[in-house]
């Protein structure tokens, strides 16, 4: 019998009803939490389940409940909300022609915020273009991020980079590459250096589920596992890679977290829209890494609610209402619900916070504009174009800079 080329399909296409019947969700609180230094061989079934802490009624339950105090929960909520409002404003700015490009992280805010809070400030972050919330969480001001997006006179990258390809050394946030996946093995190298130097900060990196098909994924897992590098390797499975569903990346066969097994390291699969679960899994992996247990692969199961980028039109390839039907809900609503269920928060307080942050975004935007836009000055300096190619300008670049009249 002859075979036929198997082409994996997404759960649904435009015009169809969103169908997530394939997703098997274990109940919150069900999964056991092993000790962080457990032998990876003993937890090979973990990737096939899912770490979930918040139940339907917004209660935090089970052994993975990190038992966070309301202070940190409120902080997380604040960062997530600010990220969402920031993203909305930037999208608008792009539509207005003030930004050449933008990428939202809507629906995935818990990933970056919870994971960032579970790490130490000296832990080094190797993100993708969809981890802007890491910067927000580490205290970078929206106005400064806006300036980068505007390539204006205050752009810390001096106009060299596309909007959102941030770099912020002050907060240990690595320069984002336009080439997907490259940061994964770099994070491993960074972590190896930490081991070498006897320091105990760790590295964390993120790739999209689509990008996990790149070769750098294999390098990262191989080197990480061979040298037991203190690193957390995260796959953000937001179901889509531009127009292709996670099935085209191999998600039809298996959870992405299961890739850990082959390398003999733990693989955790986490409800990525569950702030507490994302926090707890990261904490577990960080503890393991810091104690010499080596890398952990974490798959954060979430949904890319917005378009891939401002260059994309998702209505061409997926049902418009897919997100509304997404079984893991909205991470902000869920954390809010949890805080309310704890009687530590109220609808009124939430509205108040939303208003405050919306104003903060508006003010930041006004301030950012005052530092210029790419089309109207003041802009990033033109001569910056020749600088930082090398540490010092070699003769041929001095000559070219002169030819450019700069």
């Amino acid at each position: 019998m002859a075979t036929r080329l198997h082409i994996p399909a997404p759960p649904s296409r435009p015009g169809e009803r969103p169908d997530y019947s394939n997703i098997q969700l274990p109940k919150a609180g069900e999964l056991a939490r092993p000790e962080p230094l457990i032998d990876a061989a003993e937890i090979r079934e973990l990737p096939f389940s899912m770490i979930r802490v918040l139940d339907e009624g917004h209660q935090a339950i089970g052994p993975w409940n990190p038992g966070l105090d309301t202070g940190i929960l409120k902080e997380g909520l604040r960062h997530m909300l600010l990220t969402r409002l920031f993203d909305d404003r930037m999208l608008k700015a792009q539509r207005q022609g003030l930004l050449t490009f933008y990428v939202k992280s809507t629906g995935e805010e818990a990933v970056s915020v919870a994971q960032c809070l579970a790490l130490r400030p000296d832990d080094m972050l190797f993100p993708t273009y969809r981890q802007q919330a890491l910067l927000i969480t580490r205290g970078i001001k929206p106005v400064d991020m806006m300036c980068q997006c505007l390539s204006n006179s205050r752009d810390n990258l001096e106009g060299r980079q596309l909007p959102v390809l941030y770099s912020w050394k002050e907060v240990n946030f690595f320069s984002i590459s336009g080439n997907v996946g490259t940061q994964f093995p770099q994070a491993v190298g960074w972590a190896m250096a930490a081991s070498y130097k006897g320091e105990n900060s760790i590295a964390a990196s993120w790739v999209g589920e689509g990008s996990s098909a790149e070769s750098d994924f294999h390098s990262a897992l191989t080197f990480g596992s061979v040298y037991r590098a203190p690193v957390i390797l995260n796959i953000v499975n937001n179901q889509w890679a531009i127009s292709t569903s996670q099935n085209i990346a191999g998600g039809e066969q298996n959870p992405f977290a299961a890739k850990a097994i082959g390398y003999g390291i733990p693989g955790l699969r986490v409800d990525g829209n569950d702030f507490l679960a994302a926090y707890a899994a990261t904490r577990w992996a960080a503890e393991r890494a810091r104690q010499g247990g080596g890398p952990t692969l974490i798959e954060l199961y979430t949904y890319r609610a917005a378009a891939h980028s401002t260059s994309d039109d998702p209505s061409r390839y997926r049902p418009e209402d897919e997100w509304e039907c997404w079984p893991l809900g909205d991470p902000i609503e869920r954390l809010k619900g949890h805080l309310i269920s704890m009687q530590a928060w109220s609808e009124a307080e939430h509205q108040e916070l939303e208003k405050e942050l919306a104003q903060h975004v508006i003010d930041s935007w006004q301030e950012a504009l005052s530092y210029g836009t790419m089309s109207d000055g003041p802009q990033a300096p033109t001569a910056a174009m020749f600088e930082q190619v090398f540490k010092e300008l070699p003769p041929h670049l001095i000559k070219q800079r002169e030819q450019a009249g700069l």
Binding site: R4, L5, I7, R13, T100, F101, S151, D155, E158, G159, R160, Q161, L162, P163, L165, S177, G178, N179, V180, G181, G210, S211, A213, E214, S215, D216, A241, I242, S243, T244, I248, A249, G250, S311, D312, R316, Y317, M374, Q379, A380, T382, A384, M385, F386, V389, H396, L397, Q400, A404, L406
Partner: protein
């Protein structure tokens, strides 16, 4: 004949070939259901089915490697690398495998793979959506390298590339997809509909690989370029009022040095233009060959106008792009001296 922009012309080339050759198939990131991020494969999956036009994992190395395997097994794969800036993860498969297979197997095996990939800047794409790595590929023995500058050539060259039993890296200057661009950013961008090369036959035709085209005849000097820079050169010559002969190189490997040499021998002066960085760019090879072939006819040093030797910056795009002014300055330079 029909009015087409470059995207439609490329789409038409693939459509024609899918129709003619049941062993041709197309794959790459987002090229299937969606029709490609630049929409070059729009409608093709619907028309020919997902066995023949399909999406792949994000793995350029895997795309080229599987294309090689398919080529060896009798198929004729046309793959898209979403941006030529992302071709590097496939570099080993291109250089060590695709380019070398026929040679190392003494002709037993070969893979007639076409790699389509958008290149060049001018779209504010920053350093990872703007590169022009053609020189790197032209240096590799065993692959052909082409870049069209208009819809008519794009379709004819792509059909040639697909039919070619040698591997071809087919660069598409993305700034030209929707209309010619002459470097003037103040002008409202027009479409291909007002350009004669926007008239494209709907059926099958080819433009042979390895032939340059004389875009406009002239006697004062020769400008050699390809892709977007052809339009910049034409506009610069017009603006400067210089009677330039503009040659669209079209095929970097093999190179039609004869057409070029005839021109430079006639004009005695030569300006080479490209968007890629200068050092070891394809202009170096052009300069070396022109010098070798036309030394006794040269009345002034050959000038190169290229991208600066820096990554392609985002905000400083127009200071980086080798626009009309720089081409004009170079023309003046080669005209100023007499030998």
């Amino acid at each position: 004949m029909a009015q087409m922009n470059m995207i439609q012309a490329l789409n038409s080339a693939m459509d024609v070939m899918l129709e003619r050759d049941p062993n041709m198939l197309i794959f790459g990131e987002d090229v299937g259901y969606f029709g490609g991020v630049f929409r070059c494969t729009e409608g093709l999956q619907e028309k020919y089915g997902e066995q023949r036009v399909f999406d792949t994992p994000i793995s350029e190395g895997g795309i080229v490697a599987t294309a090689i395997g398919m080529g060896v097994n009798g198929l004729r794969p046309v793959v898209e690398i979403q941006f030529s800036d992302y071709i590097y993860p496939a570099f080993d498969q291109v250089v060590s495998e695709l380019a070398r297979l026929r040679y190392r197997s003494a002709g037993q095996y070969w893979a007639p793979v076409t790699i389509r990939t958008p290149c060049g800047g001018g779209i504010h794409g920053g350093q990872t959506h703007s590169q022009s790595p053609e020189a790197i590929f032209a240096h590799v023995s065993g692959i052909k390298t082409v870049m069209p500058s208009n819809p008519y050539d794009a379709k004819g060259l792509l059909i040639s590339a697909i039919e070619d039993d040698d591997p071809v890296v087919f660069f598409e200057p993305k700034r030209l997809y929707n209309g010619p661009f002459d470097g003037d950013t103040d002008k409202v961008a027009g479409g291909w509909n007002r350009h004669e090369k926007g008239e494209v036959p709907t059926g099958y035709y080819t433009i042979p690989i390895g032939q340059a085209a004389i875009v406009q005849a002239g006697s004062a000097l020769s400008i050699l370029g390809y892709g977007t820079m052809v339009h910049v050169a034409v506009a610069a010559a017009r603006r400067a009022g210089v009677d330039a002969e503009v040659i669209d190189v079209r095929s970097m490997m093999p190179l039609d040095i004869d057409t070029i040499a005839v021109s430079v021998k006639k004009t005695g002066r030569c300006v080479i233009v490209h968007e890629a960085t200068r050092t070891c760019g394809y202009g170096a090879e052009l300069s070396a060959q022109v010098q070798e072939e036309c030394f006794w006819h040269l009345e002034a040093p050959i000038q190169r106008v290229c991208g600066w030797d820096t990554p392609y910056p985002h905000a400083q795009e127009w200071a980086y792009f080798p626009g009309q002014e720089r081409v004009i300055a170079a023309m003046h330079e080669v005209l100023a001296v007499s030998g």
